[in-house]
Symmetry: C2
C-alpha cells in the first residue's frame, strides 16, 4: 500500500510549478535541484503529465514547463492518477476498467476494497495545488517553501 516515487516526485514537481506560477517557464533542471530528484528520471515523469495536459512544455533555450491550468483546478488526485494509474487497492475495484471476476457480486472483500478506494479518492480529490501553496505559505511565511521530502 505504498506510493512509488513516481507519485511522490511528480507531486513535488507540480507543487514546485505552482509555487513558481507566473514566473515564466520553469526548467526541469531547476525543479530537480530544488526538489532533489534525478533530472533524467523526472523527465520521464513529466512526460506523462504533459500528455495528460497537466503541464505544458516550452521548448528551446529559456524553455521549461508551466502548469496546464490554474492550480485551483488541478487536484492531487489528478496528478497521482496520471503517475500511479487508477486509484485502487486491488485491480477488481479499479476506477477504470476493473478486472472483475465472475463472483464479484458475492465477494465480501470487494466491498471493503471499494470503501478503501473511495476514501483515498475523496482525500486526494479534495486537495488542489492551490490548497497546497496556501498551506505552505501558512506554514512558513519567511522561507521559500520548497518541499524537501514527500
Amino acid at each position: 500500500m505504498k506510493l512509488s516515487t513516481r507519485g511522490r516526485y511528480g507531486l513535488k514537481a507540480m507543487f514546485d510549478l505552482a509555487v513558481h506560477m507566473g514566473e515564466g517557464p520553469v526548467s526541469l533542471k531547476s525543479i530537480a535541484e530544488r526538489q532533489d530528484i534525478s533530472e533524467h528520471y523526472l523527465e520521464q515523469l513529466i512526460a506523462g503529465l504533459r500528455k495528460a495536459g497537466l503541464v505544458k512544455s516550452v521548448r528551446g533555450a529559456q524553455g521549461g514547463y508551466v502548469l496546464g491550468r490554474e492550480p485551483a483546478k488541478i487536484r492531487v488526485g489528478d496528478v497521482i492518477r496520471v503517475l500511479e494509474g487508477p486509484i485502487a487497492p486491488v485491480d477488481c475495484v479499479s476506477e477504470e476498467d476493473p478486472e472483475c471476476c465472475a463472483k464479484a457480486e458475492h465477494c465480501v472483500t470487494r466491498t471493503i476494497w471499494e470503501k478503501v478506494r473511495d476514501s483515498i479518492s475523496e482525500v486526494l480529490d479534495s486537495i488542489t495545488l492551490e490548497d497546497m501553496v496556501k498551506d505552505a505559505e501558512k506554514m512558513d511565511k519567511e522561507r521559500k517553501y520548497y518541499m524537501y521530502y514527500i
Copy 2:
C-alpha cells in the same frame, strides 16, 4: 497504491476461518483449495498471522488452524498490518517509527499523506471478520459463501 497478494490472500484465509468457526481446526489444504491459493505460499502468510496471535495452530493429523480470538475482535486492519506492514502511503507517515526528514514540520505533502493514511486506517479498522461473515450471509443465504476473488 496496490495491496500485494499477501494482504488479499491473508484476508481470504482469515475470512475462511471465521466462516468455519466452531468446526474444529481447519487445515491449510482445505483453505487453499476453497480460496484457490497456493498451499505453500499460504503457509508463509499464515506463519505471520500465527506469530501475531491472530490464529492458533493445532499440529498433527486432523490439525489445522483456528482464529486466535472471536471474529468480532479481529479487524481487517489487524490482518492487513501483519501481512503488509504498517499502513502508510509513504514511509514518512508510517503508523510506527515513521522515517521523518528534518523538514517534516514544513512539508505540505506530508499532511496529505497523513490524511490518506488515516482514511485508510479508519475504513480497515471499522470492519471486523464478524462483519464480513454477516455481510456474506446477507449476500447469499443459500450458497456456502466462499470468496472466489479478492
